[in-house]
Symmetry: C2
Subunit: 502 residues, 2 copies
């Protein structure tokens, strides 16, 4: 029996806020002084790379050469172990997840500071919010929700094609994107996704930006990898389009709609996104929350809800880790052991039919042929077992990887919210002690209220897409399993039929 809980470190952050759940999320840059652990290879064992966070992730800011510079090619992903190939690596050998837990950012306090949460709560953020930038949290039947996107759309990602430039000196894979709201296809490379991801992760402190599928050290042009990445990007795109805030944001719309051939327009949009002032602390300025009597959130109620969600994410993360491990092992067993066992049965039947063929009498020929056919059926069933994980377990693991990315995002989101709550409590104490004016404390509470609304809206959104995704994925898994066992049954029925005429 697998119990992944022992893989989770329990520790307390230096800011004194309980951070007993350690997300397996390395933070490679802006390390707090005194960082005690050697950094493991980025995202060891993690299929989706963790989100660098809080404005520190700016690989190409200020540079316009992204059409030429091959990030993905030149990235240091060669250090990454546990890259998912088409096979099912041994879980332990792939780095598990244990080592990754060490790499968490122990200096939690910096998250609250770096996210801009502290500055915003203290009223230090300022900026002009255009109408188009405004984001609304509304009260739905289940509490605060992001206002729905009035123009919902989807976007397909198809036809990954190998393209070259510099007269064939450089190769890359381009994906065809067709957003449903424009119907105009554009071509994007992984590095464009990666750039976009960096923008969004910087801009939205309390929104869980879905992680991109991993980078890969080797085999970047192999069919299995390309197919796997396309599926990962499609999952990512689905979560992007499903999110009311992310779906409507300028950088994403630029990414979806800018013609691939218009290099100038691309650079303009890119520069605009990189110069966006409504990021971090200022992002909170763009959020409108319900007002009027009864619209203010009860601090204790919020704390209790957020704590409940924290417990939920911890448990979900553990079970996702375990299910991923089980699915990977199960896939590996089917590709190796199960296949072998059925094919050994097939081989033994084949040997028996060959022995029986030494009896040259006519009356035994039918039996010999039927047994030989049965041998082939078992051989084919072995192949069916080996092919099956691609149909059912791989999609489950893809989904889990995406959700593991979200679950790695939430500790920081929760942390920003908790940092804001702590500021409110502090300010109340300061008022009691006469160290702060009431008006300032009220301002802090009001801004904390905004962060709480946004956090709860994000939590609600998470639950909504979680139920939707897991329902459809479980159905897909079971449908594929049923199809598989029906195919096996059919093979056996064909074999049985051969004995009718013996």
């Amino acid at each position: 029996s697998i119990c992944p809980t022992h893989l989770l470190h329990r520790c307390r952050g230096s800011d004194g806020i309980d951070s007993s759940w350690s997300p397996r999320r390395p933070s490679n840059e802006n390390q707090a002084p005194g960082w005690p652990f050697p950094l493991p290879p980025a995202a060891a064992g993690y299929p989706f790379p963790p989100a660098p966070y809080g404005g520190s992730y700016q690989p190409s800011q200020g540079s316009d050469d992204d059409w030429d510079d091959d990030w993905d090619d030149s990235s240091t992903v060669a250090d990454e172990p546990g890259a998912l190939g088409s096979s099912y690596p041994d879980y332990e050998a792939a780095g598990g997840g244990a080592s990754a837990t060490v790499s968490r950012n122990l200096n939690r306090f910096s998250t609250f500071v770096k996210s801009g949460g502290e500055a915003f709560v203290l009223g230090e953020a300022s900026g002009f919010v255009k109408d188009g930038d405004k984001l609304c949290v509304v009260l739905g039947p289940r509490g605060p929700e992001w206002q729905e996107n009035p123009y919902p759309f989807q976007c397909s990602i198809e036809d990954p094609t190998k393209q070259t430039k510099f007269k064939g000196m450089k190769s890359y894979i381009a994906y065809k994107l067709v957003p449903s709201h424009t119907g105009q296809q554009v071509h994007r490379r992984y590095k464009h996704f990666d750039w976009l991801y960096g923008r969004l992760a910087e801009k939205f402190p309390v929104i869980s930006v879905p992680h991109l599928p991993e980078k890969q050290a080797t085999g970047r042009f192999e069919e299995d990898f390309i197919s796997k990445r396309r599926k990962g990007l499609a999952w990512w795109m689905d979560h992007m389009c499903s999110h009311p805030v992310l779906a409507q944001c300028d950088a994403f719309q630029h990414f979806l709609t800018c013609p691939s051939t218009d290099e100038k327009a691309w650079k303009q949009g890119k520069r605009k996104a990189e110069k966006d002032e409504m990021v971090g602390a200022n992002f909170f300025l763009t959020i409108s929350v319900p007002t009027g009597p009864g619209a203010s959130l009860d601090l204790q109620e919020v704390e209790s809800q957020v704590d409940g969600f924290k417990a939920f994410t911890k448990k979900m993360d553990e079970s996702a880790l375990q299910l991923n491990h089980t699915a990977n092992e199960f896939a590996r067993k089917q590709v190796t052991g199960f296949k072998k066992e059925y094919q050994k049965v097939g081989h033994s039947f084949k040997c028996l039919s060959q022995a029986f063929e030494l009896d040259q009498q006519a009356f035994s020929a039918g039996l010999n042929q039927a047994i030989a056919f049965t041998a082939e059926a078992y051989d084919a069933i072995g192949d069916l077992f080996a092919d099956q994980p691609r149909q059912d377990l791989d999609p489950v693991m893809d989904l889990l990887a995406l959700y593991q990315g979200h679950l790695a995002n939430f500790p920081d989101i929760i942390h920003v919210q908790k940092g804001a709550l702590t500021k409110v409590k502090e300010s109340k104490r300061h008022v009691e002690e006469g160290k702060m004016e009431l008006q300032k404390a009220e301002g802090i509470q009001e801004r904390c209220n905004i962060i709480s609304f946004a956090t709860l809206a994000e939590i609600n959104h998470f639950h909504k897409i979680r139920v939707r995704d897991f329902k459809s994925q479980m159905q897909h898994f079971l449908q594929q399993q049923i199809l598989f066992f029906q195919k096996v049954t059919q093979k056996l029925e064909e074999a049985l039929h051969k004995y009718d005429s013996v």
Copy 2:
């Protein structure tokens, strides 16, 4: 890949007759002088004990105390490794078959002598053949055949019951036999089967008497063992009743029909069988073969047919050994590994549903229940895998064990026939050299002809029941496999259905 051929020793008997196929058949008694190998435990690794042969197997001859003396209890079976329990022992650990091949009777010549074959061929057998003892070989479409039993019957073996005697001091299992030609039930113990087997193996030198299911050291009263033995005895009984000669022989009829309560009648019949003079050499006197023009067999033709059959049995023995090994391994994997893998998937789904239950919102309750149900379905599928070998692989292995017994009999049968052929060749040479009268040589050839007819009839019978048995067993196996995969599919469909209302 398994290649059991290396397990077979290739060697040449001391009589100069090629005995390159070494049957895995120990001969525990009447060892030829100079027997070079230590005897392995009887029938090591062999599910059905080999047939002691040629009048040497007389454990209770001259003793009438078999109603009291518990052979089965007091036998030395404790030395037997590889007893088939209800589980699937590791094949190698169970003795495999490699060691058993060492135990063959290297002194082949003694078989020809001890069987009475030599004495008969040389005209030294004599006895009065009653009409009732006469056995006919007829020419069928496929060559010599035993004349069919004009009164075919079957016999069920049911209701193994633990009985006691000596006021509970001794316990034994009695089986209820109901032969179809009398409809009268009788009760017999294993030791009665064993006694009968000894009589038949002694009496019929060129007939393959089916081996009894193994004795067992421990757990003789355990339900699994009793059930397994009953099935083994039922297979044995089926082969007895299917054989025209064995089915009609007096000792077998006595065994089938003598009332269990009539101790006196039992002892009379038993004594009569043990005093039967038409055994060994004299048995051949009872065989009538086709006469008239064209009825005499061509020596070279016979030799070629017997050699062909020898090659067949060798190959069938190898493939039966391999299939048995594969089936045993496959069963073991399903009971252990396959079960574990499916139940691990079930457990992981269960953990996921438990994590999801932490979100107490009504709209996710349906999904949680559906995932919990899916978890149970996979747990049940694991159990189905573990239960399945009993339905399909066990019967295949039972059949293989019975046939491995037959295949262990044939080398001796072939040897008797080859010994007779050698005598014919010798006699021809002796006539040419003026050392033997022509008339005597003609007598030798005539009697060899009888042995050849009987051998070919036995070979034909073997092929007939082989095709019958393997056809029906392969059908049964596939039917059970189909039922199994249908049950699995049904479980999954039930689980899928739970998501409809989510």
